[in-house]
Symmetry: C2
Subunit: 558 residues, 2 copies
């Protein structure tokens, strides 16, 4: 191990131990504060200026030759970033990474963990700046871009490192094996066990959470010895490029080849992901994105292990509530946050057509629908707050989808555009809420990405559960929220969650939201329904990324 | 948990803890003695009679209706078993197993572990009887059938249980998550975490090691909550059927549905494996067998996770030795054991054409080849011992292959038939050893299953390493043995092992053989070359078989 890698490991050892404790206890913990006030005020204030200074010029990284320039990011807040990036030759990049892999592999577990934790620490310090890049590529609001793009993403990276550390250190470096032979001398074998990476790891980043969804695969692969190609979404390159730069700096300081983390950006017109995914050297693929492409990877990239998070029909079932006001306020936030562009945002809300019981008495189906609409309206009544929470729509397609979906049901709350004070060109649209009958399955059982949700009139809660079960089995889901005051019904929800392998949030009516999952405690997706084939993070996510190669020989004289 | 499952868990708790220690320390340990003398003498003596009493009649198991009878096993020792087995309707079987899965899942980790350890304990007690069934289906010799078919197979099952226990208990059943909110009250969430099976597990057993290669998948899947379909090779049903019967008895005693382990035998004329493997309910597949079928499963059974052990070109590289006599004696045993029908038997032996250094001075290539031939001849000179070690050839194809391969090189040692005293019809053949030039790659780089090996004349050790590297990268290997007296060369072998992800045995010249791997200490295959995509057993082998489904809600008042 190089001296600087050792220093990095020693410096972060305590955080590592705490992270390992946290993934076991699954209680609240984080080393990366989510409050912007915990970061130096100067850094926070300087972030927009630093971001501006990156615009309209090339963003340089370490990379092999033959590169051409790509770029073309446009902020959903209405301006062109004008940044260009080197697009290295893919074959040459992979060849260089394969060479670099050896030293990285041979450096050992502590060196790799030290380097990864130092990368995370530096990313954390840069959170205000990364937030700007996340905001102006994904369209997230500034607060969310800071939290989800910075500390929460770093949490997920650290979680992956902790799982990998646990898995790798479970294997001893050496062992002596002494087999008794009755009256004869025992057989004594000296054994060595090497942690060996699988090969090149490809992490395909998405446009909506360019860091949060990227860091688990990046860090799980890198820390287990695999060089990582980061292939950003053409519309959200900058946050991934900034991450790459930090990773390359730390890797180089620690005495390794910076190409161990390489950025390979592409364009919508000339995408490179398929070519990269089918390269025989690529043995691990992490992907977040559409079902079509995720399924393509699983079907075609046979030489690789694919960890895919795709889309699903996130679900809310309402049976009964204490305070409908608290519940609708909670759901209003969930439906509004980042304009429904989270992979965890609810889309299908099942309510019995006969209505529900509340602590204020029985309320009809239309009362529930109206209460939700009213809660969203109230929550978004202050335009500044609305713009901050909604963020901007990442793509024109999402904007168009709102119009396309208006006819799918009866409008409970129409979507309306909003104008951002600072960025008047920003694509900001409030949620569209439709009500439909249970029979209109085609409407609500397709993913309608964006601020679009359906309140579905069912026969009763048993029917809601049945429909949710059918839809999730077929289409998957990453979140399931449910409301009931009767514990017997709560038990039915718990059973449903188990049957459809979807994490359950029960009776959320306060400051916790169904679309948020906390690192070290909440497992994001289960891998057991069509929305994802892996969970972020768990033991399998980390331990599948390395091999153990052993050697054995008769015991050597000391 | 049922009372009897609890009792089973309590009874075997100590063994479980010891097994967990063993997989971490990787030192020698086993609760299942490999010496027949440690088993009751009466049981050992009665085993052949008990085996005879099973012949020429139906072997009954728990199963769903619509069954027809299949059978047709022929002992490689020259007689028909005459046993028939129920072949249940596959759809009905899967449907029944899916229903049974719920109670099994909800019973919890300790109940499932208790049941699995009790199954293993009963299998251990039956080892003498199971050895008879393994011998007369696989063709293994009696000692090997006992050890590999009994205690060593049980070790591998226990190892899988230990890994799964470790993985499952790493997840707490519940947690309280307390997030500070500055001056306000903290957010407090109560969380529950459920271990949820993936679905139906299909374990496709092989003809040569019907228990050893079956128990890891069987126990890893069962203990994590997945019902298991055992699909035996049509030529080696009995050992799997006996295992199924024991499993069903224990499962039923513990209060669960015995169909949780179901035998689905088929015939060579009407195979069922593809149909079973493509069933949407089947989520896990363990397979040992040919590359063609293993690759078919990986390409086609997309709904399932496939753990495949296939074939490879197991390799020996000789650079230099202390005592050539000790080395060739060691290799003679490895080449003879079970007539080379182990997935770990060496096939390609690389030796520099200029010869090697030994403690007796330089020896030419032909000297080395002749010494190996002589060692095999000497080892097999006693016909009784030869028959015991060689066992019988499982299939006519393997017998025919010996003839087909004679022309592939210059014969160093010809294969000859042997006559077994007790079973004169047994298919017993000694090893065929050929010498070839390095350029005759087509000869030695195809798997020649059976007692067929090649001594390959290379330019020098660097050339040997280069050839071995090329062949293993392309075709895979499960074992690599190497000999050198110079530690610098030993280091090159260690690097080769790491690069081609193959376990290395160095300078074996005593009582340890390259084709033997010890549970709890040696990882069998790495999953990192074409011979296998998984390792038996490691964390990934167990932790990929279950999901974690969580629920969370605001903390409830006590």
């Amino acid at each position: 191990m190089t001296q600087s890698a050792q220093q990095m490991f020693d410096l972060h050892r305590e955080i590592l131990d705490q992270a390992v404790d946290a993934i076991s206890s699954r209680s609240f913990w984080t080393p990366y504060p989510e409050s912007m006030r915990k970061y130096p005020e100067d850094e926070v204030k300087a972030a927009p200026t630093k971001f501006d200074s990156l615009l309209n010029q090339p963003f340089t990284l370490n990379g092999v030759g033959n590169s051409q320039q790509v770029g073309g990011e446009v902020s959903p807040y209405g301006f062109e970033l004008g940044i260009t990036y080197d697009q290295p030759d893919t074959k040459a990049t992979i060849a260089a990474m394969q060479v670099a892999m050896r030293d990285w592999r041979d450096a050992g577990v502590e060196a790799r963990v030290g380097v990864c934790l130092e990368i995370l620490a530096r990313l954390n310090a840069m959170s205000p700046e990364i937030a700007q890049a996340v905001m102006h590529t994904s369209g997230q609001g500034p607060m969310m871009a800071f939290q989800a793009g910075g500390p929460h993403a770093q949490d997920r990276g650290l979680e992956a490192v902790a799982y990998a550390w646990q898995a790798m250190t479970q294997i001893p470096a050496s062992a002596q094996w002494v087999k008794p032979q009755g009256k004869h001398d025992p057989l004594v074998m000296d054994k060595r066990f090497h942690i060996v990476p699988r090969g090149i790891s490809l992490v395909v980043a998405c446009s909506t959470f360019p860091t949060w969804n990227t860091y688990p695969g990046l860090f799980a692969s890198l820390v287990t010895g695999n060089p990582v190609i980061l292939k950003p979404h053409p519309g959200a390159i900058l946050p991934v490029a900034m991450t790459t730069r930090v990773a390359q700096e730390v890797i180089e300081e620690a005495g390794f080849d910076p190409s161990l983390v390489s950025l390979v950006p592409d364009t919508a017109d000339a995408p490179l992901t398929k070519e990269l995914a089918l390269d025989p050297a690529v043995k691990l693929i992490d992907f977040t994105g559409s079902n079509v492409f995720g399924d393509w990877l699983i079907q075609n990239a046979k030489q690789a292990q694919v960890f895919a998070e795709k889309a699903g029909i996130n679900t809310i079932i309402i049976d009964s509530v204490d305070s409908l006001k608290s519940v609708t306020a909670n759901l209003a936030f969930s439906l509004s946050l980042y304009s429904g562009q989270m992979c965890t945002t609810p889309q299908a809300i099942y309510v019995p057509k006969s209505g529900i019981e509340t602590s204020d008495g029985h309320l009809g189906f239309d009362d529930v629908a109206a209460a939700l609409a009213k809660a969203v309206q109230a929550f978004l009544s202050d335009n500044d707050r609305a713009c901050t929470v909604l963020g901007a729509l990442h793509s024109m397609e999402t904007q168009a989808r709102i119009d396309e979906c208006r006819g799918l049901g009866e409008i409970v709350l129409d979507s309306e555009p909003r104008e951002h004070t600072q960025f008047p060109q920003a694509r900001i649209h409030t949620p569209l809420i439709l009500k439909v009958d249970a029979a209109q399955k085609a409407a609500y059982s397709e993913e309608r990405f964006g601020p679009i949700s359906f309140i579905i009139a069912t026969e009763n809660t048993a029917h809601s559960i049945e429909l949710a079960s059918d839809v999730i089995r077929e289409k998957g889901a990453i979140t399931l929220g449910a409301y009931a005051t009767d514990e017997a019904v709560v038990d039915q929800f718990e059973q449903l969650a188990i049957e459809v392998a979807t994490p359950l949030s029960l009776n959320l009516d306060g400051g916790i939201f169904v679309n948020q999952s906390a690192a070290f405690s909440d497992f994001h997706a289960t891998g057991g329904n069509p929305a994802a084939n892996a969970s972020l993070c768990n033991q399998a996510f980390a331990s599948s990324r390395f091999l153990v190669v052993q050697s054995r020989r008769h015991a050597q004289p000391d």
